[in-house]
Symmetry: C2
Subunit: 452 residues, 2 copies
């Protein structure tokens, strides 16, 4: 087929079709079983059309709702306050591990957390062909003008205690000809602040060339200013929260058969490995994000932003490394996490998605700062649970039940077959082959009268 | 309150309660409005109890389903094949941008992609107090024994063309006393392979100390072997896919008012900035993940794994950097992405979640390799859309409609008020303050007879 023919198979104006028309187009052009597909897409709709429209309008070309399990992890004691934490996640064992870790630390004082800072960052990238020294010298004047230019945008944020903090000039000309950057810092209070920051930056971008073309007033050399792009940075190392647990080593008692001291040392050693080996650090941090993203999703925040920031931070030493750290010293065990993130409890989806709103109610309507602390505590709890399992009984024990379920679903096992398989594999190694053999056995009548 | 009292407020055995009992406990202990909460949690259940149970069992302590919009981006031409790509995402503009970028490249030949390799990694971390040189010398014997030990696990995977590839000894003793690692490589065909790999690794971990305690046979020095943990690595730089678009610069024509050459150069400059500035790289890559995660979610894969791998890869040069690259050379524009990921089209949730299964059908039941290519193409498309917007009209123009919707939801605007606001703000700056003023105006009757 040449490009002409592909274009004939393509569709124009798909986004303008109604939801029903979109589904009909898919059925005529892609799916094999029209009736089943229509039934499925429609059965996931909310029965109330008005409520369904809210979800349809969150994104584009929407056909239906993708269900993700909404669960809770109770017993989180954070800074002497009890929380039941909402978690949205499709991976098994994550919520169970968080709940177990919360309970584990409950009688050891729980989690202590603090927000170290809350500064957000935005950038105006531009080229300036004129004198760099003069540009630097006149930054105070430029800053003053830019601050004035965004006054209508920052006024409301200032009333809430936030606003534009500072604008810094960054010189990239040693790497790239004529390249500079305005790096602006903001305080956005309880909002994640993306729209606020981007609006301010685009206003800077509109004003900067005008300020620089008026160069006789304050610049010695002539030059051209070309603004390349204006956008916030998701890397916010100064919007930082710390979560920590600690206890006397002896308080551990026996952990899955391991004596307290041996457990503490093996745990600290495992964290140390994640500090020195990027291959291990990736998975170690992935475990932290299992907990973090589940709360981020449940509260209507943006997990891609939180992931990008956290992982970039994990690499800031020059080697991708663990986000958490542990030490055993003078008979005390300490385990902590420094995590940068930008979240909101107003704006964005937080009020639009009914369950996101409900999640915030469940958490006691926290401020953004309080939410940062809850999220970090859950990340640390998740990490604790994973590393604890790894250095004691191993990770597969907990995963095998779910693995078996998935394989059974693959063979479309009925309720009877699934029950028999669960009994049989309680003490046996689950693999695709062994489950297939077992199911084939049942179906051939060979295990007809099997009882556990 | 002291720890004793907190424990009294805690709950034991929460996970053992039924779903109804869990909701009742939350209502008695946390929520203010019992009737509303029960109504809300239950109205998001699937009306068919059997189907709902599938979602309840995916995770733990589940109460209801969190709806995420399920949409599609049509017109993706990838390696001369047309796709309609399913996307699950809560952020507005992502699906629209993907669909727009797909259309943009459709008549320029579409996306070309290739899988560069598909090797997965697993690790056994251990301490060995004996002679390191002897350990190294005897690795061939150890490897042979370990390969034999996992035969029952690898047999089935071998039939599908995969299995254990190799086991390498990594020496960490220059950083950490006695620390070594077995780094095993696997081919897992169409499955993500997490359970397969972890099962093999735990078998290695059980056998390694036995092999090393039998040290008279092959080791000169005596020593102790302590296995610390056995687990796959989510960092899979050798499970790598490349996606690319290219065209003659002049084929761009006018892009949002910019002449072709100027657009191409500004675009390449913007990508270059993401290569040299980690602050920009974080947001640049976040945009790539907007597209990637939406497909990963829609197909029942694990976005935390894909995020961790991609970001660790982005930092592998020692400075966190852009995952995509662009060049303008000899009148041609080229834009590409090398992206490591581990995904599956069998196993995990792919068959368990009905819409994940449906997504794979929509994509023509792809192999894992084909899915890697689709995912990478969508990531590149998303990145193209974001950078194109940034270097032309700016990002806020597209976001403002959604921003306005969110602010209106915050003020609980009714349909009439929302319609009036949308007309009014078509050509005005949207901010929290300006929308509040407008809504207050309507409510005070001041804008009663407003017509656009």
């Amino acid at each position: 087929m040449n490009i002409r023919e592909f274009k004939d198979k393509a569709i124009s104006g798909f986004s303008k079709l109604t939801k029903q028309e979109k589904i009909e187009w898919l059925i005529s052009n892609v799916f094999e079983n029209p009736r089943e597909v229509i039934r499925e897409f429609t059965e996931y709709w909310h029965k109330d059309e008005t409520r369904q429209r809210v979800f349809d309008e969150i994104s584009e070309n929407t056909l239906t709702n993708f269900y993700l399990p909404y669960g809770v992890a109770p017993n989180f004691l954070i800074n002497n306050k009890m929380y039941v934490v909402p978690m949205v996640i499709e991976e098994s064992s994550v919520v169970a591990a968080a709940a177990k870790a919360a309970k584990f630390w409950l009688d050891k004082g729980g989690f202590s957390t603090q927000v170290l800072s809350t500064i957000k960052i935005g950038q105006v990238h531009f080229k300036w062909t004129g004198d760099g020294e003069a540009l630097r010298a006149h930054m105070p004047v430029i800053k003053q003008s830019l601050r004035q230019a965004v006054k209508p945008l920052t006024e409301n944020m200032e009333k809430r205690g936030g606003g534009l903090i500072d604008i810094e000039l960054i010189d990239f000309t040693d790497t790239e000809e004529d390249l500079y950057q305005l790096r602006a810092s903001f305080e956005t209070c309880d909002s994640m602040g993306a729209n606020f920051i981007n609006s301010c930056l685009e206003e800077f971008g509109r004003n900067l060339p005008i300020l620089l073309s008026d160069n006789e007033r304050f610049l010695t050399g002539k030059g051209q200013c070309e603004v390349l792009m204006c956008i916030l940075s998701n890397f916010t190392p100064e919007s930082l929260v710390r979560a920590e647990v600690s206890c006397a080593v002896e308080d551990f008692g026996l952990v899955e058969g391991l004596p307290a001291e041996q457990f503490a040392n093996r745990f600290a050693q495992a964290v140390r490995i994640a500090e020195i080996d990027p291959y291990r650090a990736t998975t170690h941090n992935k475990g932290i994000f299992n907990g973090i993203d589940a709360v981020i999703l449940a509260t209507g925040n943006d997990f891609r932003a939180v992931e990008a920031c956290g992982h970039a931070y994990a690499s800031s030493s020059g080697r991708y490394s663990s986000l958490s750290h542990a030490e055993v010293s003078n008979g005390r065990f300490r385990f902590w996490l420094d995590f940068p993130m930008s979240v909101g409890t107003v704006g964005g989806l937080t009020k639009v998605h009914p369950l996101a709103k409900r999640s915030l109610e469940l958490l006691g309507k926290p401020s953004a700062k309080e939410l940062m602390q809850i999220v970090a505590a859950v990340g640390l709890a998740q990490n604790f649970g994973a590393v604890k399992a790894l250095v004691t009984s191993g990770i597969q024990k907990g995963h095998m039940k779910m693995h078996l379920n998935n394989i059974l679903a693959n063979f479309e096992a009925n309720a009877y077959e699934a029950e028999r398989a669960k009994e049989y594999f309680l003490d046996k190694v689950v693999s695709f082959a062994s489950v297939r053999e077992f199911i084939q056995g049942i179906r051939a009548g060979a295990i007809k009268n099997f009882k556990a």
